[in-house]
Symmetry: C2
Subunit: 347 residues, 2 copies
């Protein structure tokens, strides 16, 4: 069913406030989920909300926490996320780091003990819209098999890069797996086979059966290079933040495990803006198929987001009913006693 | 022919000193080229040396320059490479930035007006061996077609990541093209066809003819994701350093054009070392082919470097004769008058 963006955001915000979030945190979390829907990355959209409410009820997510900030130097911030919701903790930290990078040329933040960020490109876009470049990394549960390996050992470890440009920033946002586990689940639900080379089953044999792949592992994208990239991104995040190695990460796909992942953002100032003209040259380069012009990372998502602003987003009816029900009867909030006392984070 | 590592380094050093380099700069440049040979990345090895000598003669490379350092803040260094040789300028800058990152948690350096770095992983390894993590980026001439495009518009824009681990650091070093242009030239020389999907000819049509591909474009690795990654890496380097966009980069594949590329290094301190154990788990994971155990980025290169330390490196006879001749009769050094006066950079 089609739902206007504002309605989706309002319902998601209400659900989160009902679960104990401050208005500010609820709005930030809702905006990230609904933006994913608008860009048709529904694996990072509203389907994550019921799980988040259960995580709050199970006291592995604290919807009031802002993250405890510890400045190692004027350019380096470490954050204990205090089990907070991913977006408020990350946005609060990024706001501080953007100011620091503007002043000192570069600044970085490493974050642990924080819940799922949602779409990583969201944060790269936030930084790029404020005129700075961003490298964003985060780890995940092991879902990807090493190149030549038969078991899931490596996270889907995405990389996002944001670079200021007009009319919109260049935003790369890519997982290092061939496809997302969300897409495997979607194929399983619809009874559609996977393409060869996308996944292995639990025994490590190639499979096109989506249900078998759900219990197996995803292929890295781009063969050995994609495997090496995903492994290296996970390793640098784990080394810098002190978070769990991929194989031990929990807490972004379950209801009750503490989040063991790490997040790392590097923000850098630029000295000139030659990027816009270059991206326009790329868009104007002769395509091999005249019907399909060349695009730049972020162009497709931006066009979809514009469409969604007028046409709304397409939400699964069952999910929408679940959200409406959650709004009416908030889940019990078992962990309220141990939560942060601040009503909102000063930005 | 097999050449001992020490001989190769000594000859390369002599050639560079003959061309006007200080002993320190000649040794640094020679070490990077010979290390590439030892790891069998010969596209970044000794074949680059005669061109470097011609670039010195043509005054687009200054073998005495150390780079002018300008600290924006205690964590951010910008360097005008003063047309220096890539390795001495980058190593001099990295040495300063490693000290800064050790003290302040993070530090970055952006470099312009610097010659070719050689193998980018070399620098990630230098940093990781000193106990810090490194993200390294550099741009190149446009050799890669955008996904869906028919002309070379994007650099091979490599990414290197170094993470401390035992017995050796994890070092990712990958170009974002499917193959290197060096490999295309090698196939052309040997009359061996390319694999389908590796390259387009000058008209933008798929080709397996290596000679046609030399005048065409390389495919990005991993389809649209690899294209997006390469473009984003080039854009962030160009934005941060103010270097030319990929399409206008010159100076790493020719004898007489000033280098227009940019280099960007980010160095970050770690808080713990969970990486070694995790990499060992990866190496021990069941392979799909029992004969081919799973490896970690850098393992193969490290094993080859160990082999080369005893067996030497395999150098093309024609190239070796050329180097021996260059050693005996140094090229004229037209640009000596305008060169830096320092004999070596203080490290």
């Amino acid at each position: 069913m089609q739902v206007p963006l504002a309605t989706a955001r309002a319902v998601a915000t209400d659900v989160l406030v009902g679960a104990g979030a401050s208005a500010q945190h609820a709005e930030q979390q809702a905006a990230v989920l609904v933006d994913a829907e608008a860009r048709r990355v529904s694996s990072h959209g509203l389907l994550r909300l019921p799980r988040l409410v259960r995580r709050i009820a199970n006291d592995v997510a604290d919807p009031l926490a802002c993250g405890r900030h510890d400045w190692v130097s004027p350019s380096y911030l470490t954050v204990d996320g205090q089990r907070g919701l991913g977006p408020p903790v990350a946005l609060h930290a990024l706001d501080a780091v953007i100011t620091a990078a503007d002043r000192h040329g570069v600044a970085a933040v490493s974050i642990t003990n924080n819940n799922h960020l949602g779409m990583l490109g969201y944060y790269a876009r936030v930084v790029a819209r404020r005129g700075l470049a961003c490298l964003a990394m985060t780890t995940s549960e092991p879902l990807v098999h090493p190149w030549g390996g038969s078991r899931a050992m490596v996270g889907t470890n995405p990389l996002a890069i944001g670079v200021p440009a007009e009319p919109q920033p260049l935003v790369l946002d890519m997982a290092t797996s061939m496809i997302s586990m969300g897409r495997v689940h979607d194929h399983a639900r619809r009874g559609v086979p996977l393409e060869p080379g996308w996944a292995l089953d639990a025994e490590g044999s190639p499979t096109t059966d989506a249900t078998a792949a759900m219990h197996g592992s995803l292929a890295p994208f781009g063969g050995p290079k994609g495997y090496a990239l995903g492994l290296a991104l996970g390793a640098i995040v784990s080394f810098v933040t002190g978070s769990a190695p991929d194989v031990d990460v929990r807490g972004t796909l379950d209801d009750d495990q503490p989040s063991g992942k790490g997040d790392l953002f590097v923000v850098v100032k630029g000295v000139q803006h030659p990027v816009t003209a270059f991206l326009d040259q790329i868009r104007a380069t002769p395509p091999t198929d005249p019907e399909r012009p060349v695009t730049v990372p972020g162009d497709g998502g931006e066009a979809r987001a514009r469409d969604a602003a007028s046409a709304g987003i397409d939400v699964d009816e069952g999910l929408w009913s679940e959200l409406l029900a959650l709004r009416l009867s908030p889940a019990p909030t078992a962990g309220a006693a141990s939560r942060g006392s601040e009503e909102s984070c000063r930005l």
